[in-house]
Subunit: 369 residues, 2 copies
Amino acid sequence: MNPADFPVQNLPYGVFSVAGGPRHAGVALGDRILDLTTLGVCGGLFASGNLESLIAAGPEVWSETRHLLTETIEGGDLHDHLVPMTEAVLHLPCPIGNYVDFFSSLEHAANTGRILRPDTEPLTPNWRRLPIGYHGRARSIVIDGVPVRRPHGQRGPGDFGPTRRLDFELEVGFITGPGLSLGTPVTASAAESHIFGLVLVNDWSARDIQAWEAKPLGPFLGKSFATTISPWVVPLAALAPHRVDPPPQHPPPLPYLTPAGKSIDLHLEAAINGTVVTRTNYRHLYWTMSQQLAHATSNGANFGPGDLFASGTVSGPTPDSRGCLLEITENGQTGEYLRDGDTVTLTAWAGGDGQPRIGFGTCSGTVVA
Amino acid sequence: MNPADFPVQNLPYGVFSVAGGPRHAGVALGDRILDLTTLGVCGGLFASGNLESLIAAGPEVWSETRHLLTETIEGGDLHDHLVPMTEAVLHLPCPIGNYVDFFSSLEHAANTGRILRPDTEPLTPNWRRLPIGYHGRARSIVIDGVPVRRPHGQRGPGDFGPTRRLDFELEVGFITGPGLSLGTPVTASAAESHIFGLVLVNDWSARDIQAWEAKPLGPFLGKSFATTISPWVVPLAALAPHRVDPPPQHPPPLPYLTPAGKSIDLHLEAAINGTVVTRTNYRHLYWTMSQQLAHATSNGANFGPGDLFASGTVSGPTPDSRGCLLEITENGQTGEYLRDGDTVTLTAWAGGDGQPRIGFGTCSGTVVA
């Protein structure tokens, strides 16, 4: 935990408990948590000790609440409502309804295509036409710090055992607000009004299991054993000073995927046992959040409070900005996959260098046998 | 609705309301619903008007409840607690947590492989080694009778519009009970103790959208616009007299997929606008429910109350037993996909012909533009 992640300009939301007590809603503030459930300034919004009423209330209430909290923090005596973060246990910020994982990094798609299908074009013909995605297992999403068991599975024909190619994937996901019912596509221009906030996502992957199972219907057990998210949901409003144009898109996207909207200048790092193994940036992503949500609902699919839409591995254009070990090690040729006992820690921040730092805390997990 | 589906030997569970009133739990009994919430014989199990306490209670309570209901029905005066089914509105039997769809029919996999990839082996090399599956969108699961909008989407490069290849898929799914936490695989021999009951599933599919989007990560928007399930959850106990051996499996499955367990002699039909277009049987499925659940948890993935695991399209060995229009029409070559206004109705029953008929009711939906 880095207290510099959480200045008053950030105010990310989470759920915590102290000493086995009930869960309360809170915002991270330096090395403390402001207890929103005891603070009680936002009507009964946090009375139930979770974020569900806030998430379901929609963007106007998100904005009002943020303003109110900023004023309260800047003006008031918070002493009775500040909990040292070291004394708190953090929980999933909300029940994750449905989980979609995209594949929106051109560099990741191209690298994995080149490594796994060397005899074909690295990018499939659809890649530049639509933000490819698939559904992941929402139930196996866990919070920062939960150990991740090395999964068993079929590593090939007749070969069952613990995966030999356990990988992390450095991703960023957004959590949606109240949502829309079936038959109501979200326009790209309206998409961000449905985004409650962002979290870091480690989409743990067993590459041997995934490679063997995934034809023709995609990943299943190679991914479903665990997905880790960071505990603090960073509001999109906190990232407003850091919005940047996304990379140019060729061919031009279809009308329902326009306007592309903005990306975020968000520095991302992955470390194994404290050693940074990749430094990249969310701004490299080819497809934006607006395009992802517009695409995911273009067929009329519904979404709701607490649905998670993750970016897919965020890789950059340079070798030191690759977002997973499949790419970093060329599928085990130039380095090792994860070993038992390894701890993978993802971190992210925007700003810093004189500007307020908008940090995400950590998204970590240790591999156990 | 066919009253013959619901003799006292069936007792499938559902959730209903009358005239805009509150939801109650019930069992179907002929052309009536026995209101379990007002009946009150099972302690407070149905006091909340849903099936969630029952589903979460596990197999011993499922068995006790079934015995108690059978005795009550055979012995008592139920008059005040019987609601004519024509007066009731049926609702989803429980919140569907996570949704997995398998691909467990050899005939379906072989037919679709031959039709869609004519230059390759119809079955991928993994098909006979593991029950291939993927995650679907749980949030867009709807109940029998809800209209299904023809989805828009990318039908190919630069081509966005309503799908031209809207299909149904005739499937059977099982709903799990309390479940197990992360890191606890279910053995094949114990798998059925986690199955609360079965429903019919129509996994509506937009074949043009699916074909264009699905490489390399599988189906997404071609499926996520709607999945229809039947309203009555048929307990596995009701199907006990109809358990049969599954087809032989070659090569022999790996140990974690044994014993295969039993299949079900369950007749399945799909009709379009009242005309039956396919007659097949669940017993043709290559992979069993026990193998499906053992596989889905073999990597330690968790599951919980209300998770749905569907079979994939159930096709049989003959041309008139193909379970979807992709197969029946050879991808539109010998017939048409669904038109606006078409109503697809799935039905299923075991027994009959002198034995008590264990029916599933209907799983229907009308296509709207």
